[in-house]
Symmetry: C2
Subunit: 203 residues, 2 copies
DNA sequence: TCGCGTATTGACCAGTCGGACAATGAATAA
DNA sequence: TTATTCATTGTCCGACTGGTCAATACGCGA
């Protein structure tokens, strides 16, 4: 008793969405063909029909994960800041807030990261996503560094961007595993203070 | 045809060691009762004989993982540094080197971290390990911060230690997923430079 | 020497997994 | 209308999982 036809290509998205919901609750391990099918209210045979192998479904799911965790959208509030270190600090806060609101997404990112250590395809895509993520920080880093270069030559924009990414991901690692015991405010203040000291106290 | 007797309590260690080797190669998912037994050259029935449930084996394996990744041993070279910021920078380098030499261990840490998001027992143990890891950095942070307090009040030793941990873990996240493209030297230099600017240029 | 406890094995079980596939239905072209 | 195409279903299969358990061989005290 096969059901009605598909609203065409939407099916793939529908399935990936179901997979994402399953993954948020039970992790990548929980993303089984049958679990996804049940979530999407389809037969598990249909999931196989659209994604020939499970790996492809996992691969499609990675897109969703990277889009919601390793994608940087500079908000207008952040862009409004007057000088660069201030804006960078605000961007850090924005990202930390975002991670706090959706901790489950970050968990998936780390699961895929671990997968990427062994699977080249996944590794490359995560590497590219991290590079894009760094690039957004690098823009601000370039603005504030030339002014400071007379004082300190050893901080490149690239490196500063990488440090910013570390501050965000490191916050997730520490804060999400023990939210009560971690002083988010002090952490953010320290990070911002470190960054602001890079520029020689602007007039 | 049951085999010879056990060299007593060594069996548990032997099994955990086998499980660790399996996990390094195939991840936590690959740690199956049979795979571990095969690695240890035992019957899989014996593994469940010692660890009644698989969860306990996974739990015992967590000890091994935390001991080899989230444990900080301040080497003599680092302790020899003259003033505090210098020593902290050297400690960062030591930890980054260590992670570079054994990337597989860090992968296991992140896998457990992801597990901990949903399993309270694991989460608490990882949180405790991270706290101990921070504590080692906090000691150095306290030494260098009082001198700087007149200048900047908003950086607490706790927060600086957390930032240091972020710099280490963030390095792992970025460098291990894309070793060729990541400039480790520049990253370390930037991190050290940021830290040294905290103290008002010591005499 | 004889038991006795226990470490050890292999066979077994129920469940779940990814995947293959024939059957069936609905939409579309002729 | 009829024929064709293809989305959709449920079933089936082999492989593997965690876990149970009876059978067995070993070490040790009596």
């Amino acid at each position: 008793m096969p059901g009605p036809k598909a609203p065409e290509e939407t099916r793939r998205e529908q399935i990936v969405t179901a997979a994402y919901q399953v993954a948020l609750r039970t992790g990548i391990d929980g993303v089984t063909l049958r679990a996804v099918a049940a979530k999407a209210k389809l037969s598990h045979g249909l999931v196989v029909f659209y994604f020939k192998q499970k790996d492809r479904l996992i691969g499609a799911l990675l897109d969703r994960v990277l889009a919601t965790t390793a994608m940087l959208h500079v908000s207008v509030d952040v862009a409004r800041g007057s000088h660069a270190p201030e804006r960078l600090g605000a961007l850090l806060q924005q990202e930390m807030d975002r991670l706090s609101r959706d901790p489950r997404g970050m968990r998936l990112f780390f699961e895929y990261w671990a997968l990427g250590v062994r699977q080249v395809v996944i590794r490359r895509r995560i590497g590219a996503a991290l590079e894009r993520y760094r690039a957004a920080f690098r823009a601000m880093a370039e603005e504030m560094l030339p002014a400071a270069s007379p004082n300190g030559i050893n901080v490149t924009p690239d490196a500063l961007a990488a440090v910013a990414v570390s501050l965000v991901s490191g916050y997730a690692v520490q804060a999400m595993i023990d939210p009560d015991h971690f002083d988010t405010g002090a952490y953010l203040a320290a990070a911002q203070s470190l960054i602001e000291r890079l520029v020689p106290t602007p007039a």
